[in-house]
C-alpha cells in the first residue's frame, strides 16, 4: 500500500468509484433498457393497441349508432349524407384496424384480431345488406332489424373490442407494472450503488486524504518550521511516491536555503565588519582631509613666503648685476696691470738668464781650478805617501838610510805645504763653487719663480679675462633670473590661488566625507539589521 504512488492511489480510488458507478450505470442501463423495452412494448403494442382498440370501440359504437341513424333518418338526403359519413368512418375504421394490426404482436391478440376482423366483415356485410334494403325503411323496423341482425354482431364486436381493450390495457398495465418494478429495482440499485459509491468514495477519499494529508501535514509542519527560521528541518516521509519527490525537493531546497542563509549570515557579518572598516576608513579620510586642509593653509603661507622671497631675490639680483659690472671693470684694470707686469717679468727673466750665463762661466772656471787643484792634491798626496814609505824604508835601512830620511822628510814637508796650500785653495774654490752653485741655484729658483710667476700671471690674466667674460655673460643671465623671478612670483601667486581653490575643494571633500560617513552609519544600521534578520535562522 505504501508503495503506491498518489497517482496510482487516486487512479485506484477513482477507478473504484468509477467502477462502482459504471456498475451502477450498467445496471441502471440494463434496467432502463428493460424499461425501454417495456415502454417500447407499451408504445408499440399496448398503447397503440389500446388507442386503436379504444378508438375502434368508439368508432364501432358510433358506426352502429350511425347505422341506426341512417336507418332512422327520415330524409334520403340525410341518409345519403350519413352514408357518406359512414363510408368515411368505415375507411377510418379500416385505418384504425390497420393501425391496430401493426400493433399486434402477441398471438392471443392476433387471434382476437382475426376474430374481430372476421366479425367486422361479417357485420359490415350485414349492415350493407341492411342499408341496401331501403324498403324496410319503416321506422320501427329499422330498429328492430338492427336489433335483430346487427346488435348481436355489434355486441360481439364490442365484446371483442372490449377484450382487446382489456387485453391491451392488461398488457399496458403489465408493462407499466414491470416498468414500475424495474424502476423500483433500479431506484434501489441506484441507491445501493450510490451508497456503495459514497462509501467507496469516502473510503478511497479517506485513504487518499490520509495518504496526502499526513505527509502534507509533515510538509506543512516542516514548511512552518522552515518559515519560522529553523533551516535544519528536513523531511523524512518514508514514502516512495510523489511525496518522495516533494521530500527530496524540500530537503534540497532546505539545504540550499540553509547554505544560502549561512552564506548570507557570513556575508552579513562580513558586511557588518566591512562597513565598520569603511566607517573607520572614512573617519580616517575625514581626518586626512582636515589635515590636507591644514597643510594647504601651510602651503599657502609658504607660497606667500616664496613670493616675498622672490621679490627680495629680484632686488638682490639687480645688486648682483651692478656688482658684476664693477667686477668686470676692475678685472679689466687688473688685466692691464698684469700685462705691464708681464713685460717686467720678461725683462727680469732675461736679466736672470744673463746672470745665469755669467755664473755658469764662473762655475766652469771654478771647475777648471778644481781640476788643477785636484791634480795638485793628488801629487801632494802621492808625494806624502812616497815620503812616508821612503822614511820607513830608510829607517829599516839603518845607517845607510839616514841621509835619505832627511830628504824624505823634506819632500814630505814640501808636499805638506803644497797640500795645505792646495787645501786652502781647494777650500776657497769650494766656497766659490758653492757660492756659485748657490747663486746659480738661487737664480734658477728665481728664474723658476719668475717663470712660475709669469705662468701664474698668464693664468691670472686668462682667469681675469674669463672673469670678464663670465661677468659679461652675467648680465643677460641676471636678466633671465629676473624674468624667472617675476615668473616665479607670478607662479607663487597662481599657486596661492590654486591653493585657495584646493582649500575650498578640501572643505567640500570634508563635507562630502561627512555625508558619506552618515551614509556609512546608515549602512551600518542596515547591515546590523541584515545580520539580525539572518541570525534568526538556525542553520
Amino acid at each position: 500500500m505504501k508503495n503506491l504512488t498518489l497517482r496510482q492511489r487516486m487512479l485506484a480510488g477513482f477507478a473504484v468509484i468509477l467502477g462502482i458507478m459504471a456498475l451502477m450505470g450498467m445496471l441502471d442501463l440494463r434496467r432502463l433498457y428493460t424499461i425501454e423495452k417495456e415502454v417500447d412494448a407499451i408504445r408499440q403494442d399496448a398503447v397503440p393497441g389500446l388507442y386503436y382498440s379504444a378508438s375502434m370501440r368508439a368508432a364501432w359504437g358510433t358506426g352502429f349508432v350511425r347505422t341506426r341513424d341512417v336507418l332512422e333518418h327520415p330524409t334520403p338526403e340525410g341518409r345519403k349524407a350519413l352514408l357518406d359519413l359512414q363510408v368515411k368512418s368505415d375507411a377510418q375504421f379500416d385505418e384504425l384496424l390497420a393501425g391496430y394490426l401493426k400493433s399486434v404482436h402477441r398471438s392471443d391478440e392476433t387471434a382476437m384480431y382475426n376474430e374481430f376482423r372476421t366479425l367486422v366483415l361479417d357485420y359490415r356485410r350485414r349492415r350493407d345488406v341492411l342499408l341496401a334494403d331501403q324498403s324496410a325503411a319503416a321506422v320501427g323496423q329499422a330498429r328492430a332489424l338492427v336489433q335483430e341482425q346487427l346488435a348481436p354482431q355489434f355486441a360481439k364486436g364490442s365484446e371483442i373490442l372490449l377484450n382487446i381493450v382489456a387485453v391491451n390495457k392488461a398488457q399496458a398495465d403489465e408493462a407499466t407494472a414491470r416498468i414500475e418494478h424495474a424502476v423500483s429495482i433500479g431506484e434501489t440499485g441506484i441507491v445501493v450503488s450510490l451508497v456503495l459509491a459514497l462509501l467507496a468514495a469516502f473510503a478511497c477519499g479517506y485513504l487518499l486524504m490520509r495518504a496526502i494529508t499526513k505527509p502534507m501535514g509533515s510538509i506543512v509542519e516542516g514548511l512552518t518550521q522552515l518559515g519560522a527560521g529553523d533551516l535544519t528541518r528536513r523531511l523524512d516521509l518514508a514514502r516512495k511516491d510523489e511525496f518522495n519527490a516533494i521530500e527530496q525537493g524540500f530537503n534540497t531546497t532546505a539545504n540550499e536555503l540553509s547554505l544560502l542563509v549561512s552564506k548570507a549570515q557570513r556575508s552579513a557579518i562580513q558586511v557588518a565588519t566591512s562597513v565598520t572598516e569603511i566607517a573607520a576608513t572614512s573617519r580616517q579620510q575625514q581626518a586626512t582631509a582636515t589635515q590636507v586642509a591644514a597643510t594647504t593653509t601651510e602651503i599657502g603661507a609658504t607660497s606667500r613666503e616664496i613670493s616675498a622671497t622672490s621679490r627680495d631675490l629680484v632686488r638682490t639680483m639687480s645688486e648682483v648685476s651692478g656688482a658684476a659690472e664693477r667686477t668686470a671693470s676692475l678685472a679689466g684694470n687688473g688685466q692691464t696691470g698684469l700685462a705691464r707686469m708681464e713685460d717686467t717679468m720678461h725683462n727680469v727673466v732675461e736679466a736672470a738668464g744673463s746672470v745665469n750665463a755669467k755664473l755658469a762661466v764662473l762655475n766652469e772656471k771654478a771647475g777648471n781650478i778644481n781640476r788643477v787643484v785636484t791634480t795638485i792634491t793628488n801629487v801632494a798626496n802621492q808625494t806624502n805617501l812616497l815620503s812616508l814609505n821612503a822614511a820607513i824604508e830608510a829607517e829599516k835601512a839603518g845607517e845607510y838610510g839616514r841621509g835619505f830620511v832627511v830628504v824624505a822628510t823634506e819632500i814630505r814637508r814640501l808636499a805638506d805645504q803644497t797640500a795645505v796650500a792646495t787645501y786652502d785653495i781647494e777650500q776657497i774654490v769650494r766656497e766659490i763653487q758653492s757660492s756659485v752653485s748657490a747663486g746659480v741655484m738661487g737664480m734658477d729658483k728665481f728664474s723658476e719663480e719668475v717663470r712660475r710667476g709669469m705662468g701664474d700671471m698668464q693664468e691670472i690674466g686668462e682667469q681675469l679675462s674669463q672673469i670678464i667674460q663670465q661677468v659679461q655673460t652675467l648680465a643677460p643671465r641676471v636678466q633671465m633670473v629676473n624674468e624667472g623671478m617675476s615668473a616665479q612670483a607670478t607662479g607663487a601667486e597662481q599657486i596661492n590661488q590654486a591653493l585657495v581653490q584646493l582649500s575650498e575643494a578640501t572643505h567640500q571633500t570634508v563635507e562630502s566625507l561627512r555625508h558619506s560617513s552618515l551614509a556609512i552609519d546608515e549602512l551600518n544600521v542596515v547591515a546590523n539589521d541584515l545580520r539580525a534578520g539572518v541570525s534568526r535562522f538556525k542553520v
Binding site: 812616508l388 822614511a391 820607513i392 839616514r402 832627511v406
Partner: protein, 181 residues
Amino acid sequence: MPPSAAHLQPQPGGFVARKLFLQFRIGGDRYLLAADTVVQVLPPQPLKQVPGAPVWVAGILSYKGEPVPVLDMSQLALGQGARQVTSTRTVLVAHRHRGHEPLRTLGLILEGVTDTVHRDPADFMPSGLDGVQARYLGPVLQDEEGGMLQWVSVNELLSDEACALLFATATATVTAREAQP
C-alpha cells in the same frame, strides 16, 4: 809650520836613541806606530768584504798576490768607521800575535797618516790605564804642543779569537781562490 818640522833639527845625543814612528789619529788623539813594524803605507785600497765578520774587519786586501786581512782601527777603538779622506791610509804591518810566530801581514786602516816622527822610546811613560780590552795601547809621550802621543803595539792589537778569525778567513779566501779555476 808642520809639527814634524821640529824633528829636522839635529838632536843632542845623536840619532841612535831615536826611533822612527808613524803618526796617525784615532778620533781626536794622535797615536804612534813603530816604523820598523810597518811594511808599507798604501793609499786607500779596494777591499773584498767579509760578510758575517765583525764590524771592525774592513775586508781582505790582495797585496803582492797574498791576501791580507784589513781592519779598521777607528772602528775597533771607537766604534766609528774611519773617515774617507786623503789622509786615511791603509798601513800594512808585520804582525806577530802576542809576539808569537807566525809572522803575518796585517792591514790597518788608519786616519791622519801623513807624518813620521822621531822619538826616543825612553821618553815614553806608562799611561797608568792598562785595560785588558785595549792591550795595544802602550805608553804615552807628552808633546811640545801639550798633547799626548800614545804608542800602539801592533802585536797586541787582536784578541785570540779575532786573530784566529781574521787569519782563518784570509786562509779560507786563499783556499777558495786557489780552488777556483
